[in-house]
């Protein structure tokens, strides 16, 4: 009982009479919600509309909490401003956020008629609600009311007893919605079918591409597999399609043909009688550590390296 009194003193939201704090909250959040709604309708950019709606939903969630619906307030913030508005923004980004409204009126005078209808609806609703609820004293949900044990236990008790069947049906609804979204948003329909490997080959042979085979990679038949080395055709000429447009064209240096009896060819060391020929190629320089008695060939090798 003391807990109940404490709760009453603390002023749980959703009481029979609205206190000063709730009034302040309402007169701040209500205009924010209205401004967000108006901004959503009249913003030209769709992203601005989405952000205005997020503000409206946020303030509505706070108003729920002020009325004692704590669970619904948090669900509103998490589900609506968190999930649904992010989904809207994602779709806006996918569809193209510059797909703004057309200003063209398809039906003449439709906009003015819609505005008139909206004002009329607002006046009717406000008048009806204002007249019907003049002397209503709310029962209230706070201590002693339906929220006596807390808002979430109260809602849970209702959902799992009185509204159990409807609650179970919502699970079927959610599964159906998820399946439907997957079926509808599946990109690979018959109109946008992905080509199989066989269809790609047939399209190539039918001449839909510039050439049947892919371009020759650099250095396929060349002596090195560097990108700088062009591919050689079987007759030894350079395949022009293998030349990279980025890398400057370099001359192909013929590889030295070692004689089979030249044991120094594998080490890269120039043979004494072929030193003049070999020194002009980089191969002779690479492993070149000539013997001390071959001074002349060593000088040639260094000169070849400088070249």
């Amino acid at each position: 009982m003391s807990l109940l009194l404490l709760a009453q003193d603390a002023g749980l939201p959703g009481g029979a009479d609205t206190g000063l704090g709730e009034g302040i909250a309402f007169w701040i959040l209500g205009p924010v919600a209205l401004a967000g709604a108006l901004g959503m309708v009249f913003a030209r950019n769709a992203v601005h509309s989405a952000l205005c709606l997020a503000g409206t939903m946020l303030s509505l969630g706070l108003l729920y909490m002020a009325q004692g619906a704590l669970f619904l307030g948090f669900v509103q913030i998490i589900v609506y401003t968190g999930a649904v508005m992010m989904l809207f923004l994602f779709v806006l980004m996918l569809v193209g956020r510059d797909s703004s409204d057309s200003v063209v009126e398809v039906l003449r005078g439709q906009r003015a008629a819609a505005l008139l209808f909206g004002v009329g609806l607002a006046v009717l609703l406000v008048a009806a609600v204002g007249r019907a609820f003049t002397d209503v004293t709310p029962v209230g949900l706070d201590a002693g009311g339906a929220n006596w044990n807390g808002n979430v236990p109260g809602i849970g008790r209702l959902i799992f007893t009185k509204y159990l069947f409807a609650f179970e049906l919502t699970s079927a609804l959610l599964i159906t919605a998820a399946l439907g979204a997957m079926v509808l948003a599946y990109a690979q329909t018959r109109a946008h079918a992905k080509r199989s490997q066989r269809e790609t080959v047939e399209a190539r042979l039918r001449g839909e591409h510039a050439r049947i085979s892919p371009l020759p990679g650099p250095g396929v038949f060349a002596t090195a597999n560097s990108v700088a080395v062009p591919a050689l055709l079987p007759d030894g000429s350079i395949a022009p399609e293998s030349l990279s447009e980025v890398i400057d064209r370099t001359d192909v240096q013929p590889a030295p043909v070692p004689s089979p009896d030249d044991a120094h060819a594998l080490t890269g060391r120039p043979h004494s009688d072929r030193s003049g020929h070999d020194a002009s190629t980089p191969h002779s320089v690479r492993g070149g550590r000539p013997a001390p008695d071959q001074n002349g060939s060593r000088a040639d090798a260094v000169e070849g390296a400088d070249r």
């Binding site: 309402f26 509309s49 409206t56 209808f117 204002g130 609820f133 709310p138 029962v139 959610l174």
Partner: protein, 99 residues
């Protein structure tokens, strides 16, 4: 301040959402206006729950939220598939049921 103000705010939000559905031409914005109308009704349901002193209205608002979430998912998927085939999100351009 009485709880009637909540109902008046709800009525105004509902009217604004209805005007937005009629005025706007972007399908996604029309969808957002529908969401606003659902939220306005939720506010009045919560207020009625408080006036009646029972939580049934809040449970009803909860179910409205569930249905709205499912509706958003399916509706946005439809908008996406229409955009993929027609390259437009305007509701004036979708005037044929097929092709």
């Amino acid at each position: 301040m009485s709880t009637t103000y909540y109902l008046l705010l709800s009525a105004l939000l509902f009217s604004i959402g209805a005007v937005g559905v009629l005025v706007r031409r972007n399908a996604i914005v029309v969808f957002m206006c529908v969401e606003l109308m659902l939220n306005a009704v939720n506010l009045s349901l919560v207020t009625f729950a408080r006036i009646n002193g029972a939580l049934d209205g809040q449970v009803m608002a909860f179910f409205v939220m569930v249905v709205a979430a499912a509706e958003v998912v399916v509706g946005l998927a439809i908008i996406m598939s229409i955009f993929r085939t027609r390259r437009t999100a305007s509701i004036d351009d979708a005037n044929l049921l097929k092709y």
